[in-house]
Symmetry: C2
Subunit: 211 residues, 2 copies
DNA sequence: ACCTAAACGGACGGAGGCGTCCGTTATCGT
DNA sequence: ACGATAACGGACGCCTCCGTCCGTTTAGGT
């Protein structure tokens, strides 16, 4: 057998490049979405294509690494919402903050809703988030603030819908998203005058792979 | 000067091909969006690329022609809504029907919201629609059914948001869209318990070109 | 039946994205 | 200071899409 000599410590320049690549990826993904060419990321990072591919053999890996902190932010938001003694207020907070997060980062939205072919890490993070929010929603419903015919897919619906909103600048994007979140929350709020909703559709929220 | 001999009557095979191309374009655009290659349209229509380009020199022209009837449908919906003696019911109908229309036809959504570089005819149709709906909304507001802080951009917001909703099949797409429209309507409905909304953002709804 | 020109579509050259190879450069242990 | 080697990036070949040219086919008037 071969005594594998994997140097688990990167050379300083390599580490440096790796960081620059991630920065470039984050910047481009957040403004232009995930469809930016790998070349473009490399160019922006000031490295050759080969270097980019050496660090991140597939686009998925790059995406997963680039959005690691966004995912943490997402998780933090959800945790914060769940910790709120008032579940309805917690849920509202989650909706508002997550919408804003997505408004600020187009790429993250795409990754999170996996428009893109299964980014594993992101998918895992999403699953956790979804589960936690489900409990929060249940509590809010029991408290009588969330309408009883709310289903979790409605939240996915809102997130997808939020993705559809595009504006020229990040500022107006966030503004629009905020208003949208406001509308969504009021649509979700229990209210006697509300007529029953059309039935919810099953959305591809967490389709488990055969893996 | 030249006595121009433009034959305003197409040869039968040409006319036939033209129809087949439009059918193919409609089918592909509606399921796959506007990004389908021109080649693909030609292939599906059973004609060569050159023939496609001869009939529709630019993609915009093809799009405009392909969505002519959708645009009429859109207009008809708005007219119907405006004709309703109850402006709120009329507005609801418009929202529901337009959302459904967009849900059934992905390409039309993109064209209508001109994700695509200015499709002139579509833009014109949109402008008419927007104006008519604005009046309808005003009446609904005066009747006290539509919340007073509603602005027209909210409707654009909903349309954009509706665009963001994607499902695996047209059926679930429509279903999801219906539920979304239902939520939107309830968010728009005047209701004493509703808190004020965040300020509306100016969306690029009808940016007039310098032309 | 025939002839003209309208209409067709295969084939071409160009642009841009992709992932990889390999000669060169720079790091780091001695 | 220097050599082994990790890391770099320019350049390559492949692919898909684009829009156009031009030799061939076919409609339709006489």
């Amino acid at each position: 057998m071969v005594t594998d000599r994997l140097p688990h410590t990167l050379r300083s320049d390599a580490l440096d490049n790796r960081e620059r690549i991630l920065d470039a990826a984050r910047a481009l993904f957040s403004t232009d979405g995930l469809d930016v060419p790998m070349r473009e990321v490399a160019r922006r990072a000031g490295v050759g294509p080969a270097t980019l591919y050496r660090h991140f053999p597939t686009k998925q890996m790059l995406i997963a690494e680039a959005f690691a902190d966004q995912l943490h932010a997402c998780r933090a938001i959800v945790d914060e919402g769940c910790a709120d003694p008032d579940p309805w207020r917690g849920l509202c907070l989650v909706i508002e903050r997550i919408c804003e997060l997505h408004a600020r980062d187009r790429g993250f939205t795409e990754a999170f809703l996996s428009t893109y072919p299964e980014v594993k890490d992101v998918a895992a993070g999403r699953e956790y988030t979804v589960k936690a929010v489900a409990e929060l929603a249940q509590r809010a419903k029991e408290a009588g603030h969330l309408r009883s015919d709310f289903v979790l897919d409605d939240l996915i619906l809102i997130l997808m819908a939020n993705k559809g909103i595009h504006a020229t600048s990040t500022a107006s994007q966030v503004k629009a998203s905020r208003r949208f979140a406001g509308l969504a929350i009021q649509a979700f709020e229990a209210c006697p005058q509300h007529a029953p909703l059309p039935p919810a559709a099953r959305l591809a929220s967490a389709a488990p792979d055969s893996t």
